[in-house]
Symmetry: C2
Subunit: 111 residues, 2 copies
DNA sequence: TTATTTAATCGTATATTTGCGATATAAGAT
DNA sequence: ATCTTATATCGCAAATATACGATTAAATAA
């Protein structure tokens, strides 16, 4: 991949792709589920639940944070992660937009 | 990554992640849009529209096909690609399920 | 039959992702 | 002040993804 071609697409396509990439790993989906299930902010618990090393979980959390899907604040010696519902809702809408946008144009498949 | 850890998660998480990966590139989102816009099955047209080489587009199409989002049939010397609406609808529902599932549990963010 | 057109595949280079152990950091406990 | 605990980050290895040119394959046109 000599050059990056991603910039040649629309911002909307890039944003949507980036969000999709954020949840394109079962570990990150599992992390989101754990974060949603617990009412309090956990972190080390995720490491207990997932079959991954602490450093790996930390890395996945960082990616979710970079994608804006998760917020993180320092709480004493531990970290507090939460789902960013606002961003999540926005991306949910973007997805719906894509799905509907595609579907409206052509409901029937020709092959 | 000495070992694959993806199998250690639920099938549902894996399937969803795989679908997300399929649309985790702006080129593939753009391809889906083109396929939806045209009423007929094109292929070479995608190459004209996208800023990518023919072999690269072919590769992206293959990935979409592997993910089940697109069907492809041979039509003489050319290929005919179409969106698989059924599979698309299924994944749309899976996404909604995830979003709602997460949201119901905890609407408020604690940080 | 030979040439042309269209698309898939191969080979290759490079970039990114995934994963882990080891180390660093920072707060709380002793 | 030192030890413990929790987490982030670094460095590395291996796997995957991205992109392209060249080649192959297969059907139509000449």
């Amino acid at each position: 991949m000599a050059v990056h071609k991603k910039e040649e697409f629309t911002q909307r396509e890039q944003d949507l792709a980036e969000f999709a990439k954020a949840i394109a790993h079962p570990a990150r989906i599992a992390i989101l589920k754990v974060l949603a299930q617990k009412n309090e902010c956990i972190c080390g618990e995720i490491v207990q639940i997932l079959p991954l090393a602490q450093s790996t979980v930390s890395q996945h959390l960082k990616e979710l944070k970079n994608a804006g899907l998760v917020t993180g604040t320092v709480d004493g010696p531990r970290s507090c992660y939460c789902i960013n519902w606002k961003a999540f809702e926005k991306f949910n809408q973007e997805f719906s937009w894509l799905f509907n946008n595609l579907k409206i144009k052509n409901e029937k498949s020709c092959c």
